[in-house]
Symmetry: C2
Subunit: 322 residues, 2 copies
């Protein structure tokens, strides 16, 4: 593999840093889904992670790396999703402040979740420019360290620990994996997944699953150059963002193929996971099963067993998509 900004050693080191603080989430299987996909599927269940998503791995790793003096001033990010809660909890566990910049339009439930973890919410206008400038203002005012949701080496390394665990757990079952599939939004999880998988096994194949309504990664990969996401439109609301400066080269070099799927496929896969496997996951997680059931992936040869990273389970139970 080409040199990348995050190395396998960084993932191993993240695994050390998060040990004991992060759940070793279970790996589940479901014969019905094996039969439907024509392969043996192993689901890494990050919906059971703290804050209900893999994001806690990266956030805890990043917070734990801060020198004491910098840490004392706290951390800041802009996010209304799982990274916000993850960073808030990681900061709380270290006993340092967290400042979370959120658009005024963020739901009261999301604001409350972050406040519950003891973070300070800073509201801004609902534009990327406003988010970034507000975060920058908070940073200057407080001295807090900015922790990007995905384009940050400690975040990428932390997210990779899910795949380290998955491969270890599969080995404990006496099994092995031909391939691993992760969802792609900003690419933090996918980059970490690729680095961890290739670090443990040269022959491990890494695929990404992406909503067709936010397919910047597939288009970038196909063009061979970074193409930002504009006007995303998908139910998978954790996968709306563009790739980053750090994640794009890793994905370009270390991911074999990006499978795009429609929202109809995502909803059908979500329902299968709920109904048949009893796995309560969010649409952004269902994307990986949708990809594995898609003809693009079915036609890939020499894959017998697949690890699927289920990224999280934070879903509005009052507004299910079926």
């Amino acid at each position: 593999m080409p040199e990348s900004s995050v190395r396998f050693e960084d993932v191993l080191s993240a695994a050390e840093a998060i040990r004991g603080a992060v759940h070793r989430t279970p790996v589940m299987t479901c014969r019905t889904l094996d039969a439907l996909s024509g392969r043996r599927l192993f689901f890494k269940c990050e919906q059971f992670q703290k804050v209900g998503a893999f994001k806690f791995r990266g956030a805890f790793n990043a917070v734990s790396r801060l020198p004491d003096e910098a840490a004392a001033a706290g951390v800041v990010t802009h996010s209304s999703g799982n990274h916000a809660q993850a960073l808030a909890l990681a900061a709380k566990m270290r006993g340092i402040p967290a400042f979370i910049v959120m658009p005024r339009t963020a739901s009261p439930v999301k604001q409350a979740a972050v406040l519950d973890y003891g973070a300070e919410v800073v509201l801004c206008e609902p534009t990327l420019v406003a988010r970034e400038s507000t975060a920058s203002e908070v940073q200057q005012r407080t001295g807090a360290t900015f922790i990007h949701p995905y384009d940050h080496p400690h975040i990428i390394a932390g997210q990779g620990t899910a795949t380290l665990e998955l491969i270890e757990q599969i080995a404990e079952l006496g099994e092995s994996l031909s391939a691993v599939v992760a969802p792609v939004g900003g690419g933090g999880l996918l980059s970490g997944t690729a680095i961890a998988a290739h670090g443990l096994s040269d022959g491990m194949r890494v695929f990404a699953a992406e909503p067709a309504g936010a397919d910047d990664a597939a288009r970038s990969k196909s063009a061979g150059e970074f193409i930002p996401q504009t006007a995303p439109n998908t139910i998978a609301d954790g996968l709306l963002t563009s790739l980053g400066q750090l994640t794009w080269p890793i994905i370009r070099d270390q991911v074999e193929q990006i499978i795009t799927v429609s929202d109809e496929q995502i909803i059908a896969a979500m329902r299968l996971l709920w109904e048949r496997a009893k796995l309560l996951i969010e649409p952004s997680s269902a994307v990986v099963l949708a990809a594995v059931l898609d003809d693009q992936f079915r036609s890939v040869v020499d894959i017998e067993s697949v690890g699927l990273i289920l990224s999280g389970g934070n879903v509005n139970l009052d507004r299910l998509p079926w």
Copy 2:
């Protein structure tokens, strides 16, 4: 403990019989629910069992015990719920016929689920008398062995294996349990739970959780004599039946207290398990958390850690109760 029709040795023997055929389901924890209950809670997740419910344990045990000659003629039961699917699958795995008597009013989805496992569905009028007489006719016509959904020693012993596993898994975590709580309908799971828990540890306390709208077990226990269930009315549709001739004495002698909860409490507990613990369980499973959060259970002293048997996850996703 007084002598009972099913002994601890029977549960151990069931554990041997089902080994490899039955999933060792995970034990999950959730700090939010610990905080709400004031105790450490360990959830034994039988929604991840084959057919999505603990019922497969007893059914597989019962089917495996049949001598070859009797087995060849198959098994018969009357059920429209999880026992029907469990018996159908257990019979399929042994390669013998299964005849499932169901009321004509059973949903097409439930009929299809049993047919999928290769069983023969025999429809009857939707009364207990019709179910029993139809099952009896099938038995005489085919020579199949009747496997009662709960009032059967091999069923009770099989259901007890969930608690054997739970206590073993808790020990692997370096923890121990003060008490275990199981839901009660016909009492197969609860009886097996009590026998397993007391067999492993004299001091283990056993509680039951029952819907107030189907509280025959609580009334029987309070009266000191068997009282059948009439006109049950609760959302917990797996817990509607009366106790049995075998299960009632075990529950009378080996269960400390039966906590009754309202449907409102059950729905609230179900939502907590879905939203906070990401555990997709059916209302009949939520009853145990509702009981643990109820003042009746909170006021019980000397309980620090509680094992809760989550019985299953077969729920209609188009008709959620909130």
